[in-house]
Amino acid sequence: MNYIFYFLIVVSIIAGAANGKLPDVVNAILTGAELSVKVAFSLIGIMAFWLGMMKIAKKSGLIGVIAKIIKPVTKKLFNEIPEDSPAIGDIAMSFSANAFGLTNAATPIGIKAMEELQKQNIDKKSASNAMCMFLAMNTAGFQLVPATVIAILIGVGYENPTEIIAPTLLVTTIAFLSAIFMSKLLQKFWAPQQSPLAMGEGRISAGGTGVRNSGEDFGGEN
């Protein structure tokens, strides 16, 4: 994350200066900061709502049933997570919410799933294989009906807006499957996580952060 943060900001300032857009770039700091707080605050209500709903669904056993149905798939994708972990149910719900285009519900449920995955994580600062897999599934944006895009198409007078559903679904499926495949592939080549306790205190602070450092070969443990 260190490199991404540095890259985004420093490259923007340099490119902005080169393009004569430095004032815009500096203004973007303010608007971006404001926007982040707006996004977070706009999430509070809807997040509370869906976390409440999810708790009911969990207590009533609904999530357990859904988790059981998709077990054959999740067992393969998240082989490091115990089969009875609540994370599996949350992952299933988050995926369903995304598929139906319920973005508002998908975010809180997805965060809940990440929290459950964090409980199984041996190094709380770095992303476990299961987290990378779950994130990959999310970033591929699998969705059955792209409702917002269709709404815009209708707005500009597109004759048959539903004709883009099939190609979009095909493309999103390809991206989704390739994300899963690449996640599994990189998991094999990337150095496995190691518990910070095993590395010793000094190693944690010296171990640095960011993608590159976490790729250091600590060897051994899986």
Binding site: M1, L8, S12, A15, G16, K21, D24, A28, G32, A33, S36, A40, L43, M47, A48, F49, W50, L51, G52, M53, K55, I56, A57, S60, G61, L62, F100, G101, L102, A105, I111, M114, Q118, K125, S126, A127, M131, L135, A136, T139, G141, L144, V145, P146, T148, V149, I152, L153, E159, T162, I164, P167, T168, L170, V171, I174, A179, M182, V211, S214
Partner: protein, 178 residues
């Protein structure tokens, strides 16, 4: 028929899930109201916790977009795209869709308005926007909420999947509408 079915699904997905959750809860004799409010309490905590991570990533992306660098990349890549008979108008979408969902929708609206509703470019842009999720936002929110700072290969996979999605969109739209 298909159109109507799709509309029906979009309309009823959300209310349907809510009815299902509440009804099963009631049948199983769950104290609905108490359990709901208990779960909802976490909403505030989570939303406030992600603010620092959102500020870092959204400020970075806002600066990146304001710097004009996306347009510069467009100028460089335009000849390459022309080779594949892809209009340079779609290029901002390819770059922006991993960074900001609202920006991608904005660019898409512009294209739909300017290129004409049924133009090939509009179709391509529609498929590209519709098949993507904002990788950087998802990364910041999900990992921010649980305090992950070492991404390992998560971002690489996300961006590679975005890239595959772009190529697939070009190929599929060409095949179906070309």
């Amino acid at each position: 028929m298909f159109h109507q079915l799709m509309n029906l699904i979009s309309l009823w997905a959300l209310p349907g899930i809510i009815i299902l959750i509440l009804t099963i809860g009631l049948v199983r004799k769950i104290p609905l109201y108490e359990v709901f409010t208990d779960g909802a309490k976490e909403g505030f905590k989570v939303a406030v916790n992600i603010i620092p991570y959102l500020v870092a990533i959204i400020v970075g992306i806002s600066m990146f977009r304001a710097s004009g660098i996306i347009e510069s990349i467009g100028v460089v890549c335009a000849p390459l795209l022309e080779h594949f008979k892809v209009s340079a108008d779609v290029l901002p979408i390819m770059i922006v869709r991993s960074l900001s969902g609202s920006a991608a929708l904005g660019v898409f609206s512009d294209i739909a308005n300017n290129s004409g509703a049924d133009a090939y470019t509009t179709k391509l842009a529609a498929v590209m926007v519709g098949s993507s999720e904002t990788t950087f936002y998802v990364l910041a929110v999900y990992f921010g909420a649980i305090g992950i700072s070492k991404l390992r290969y998560a971002l690489i996979v996300g961006l590679l999947a975005d890239f595959v999605g772009i190529i697939a969109a070009i190929a599929v739209v060409k095949w179906m509408f070309g």
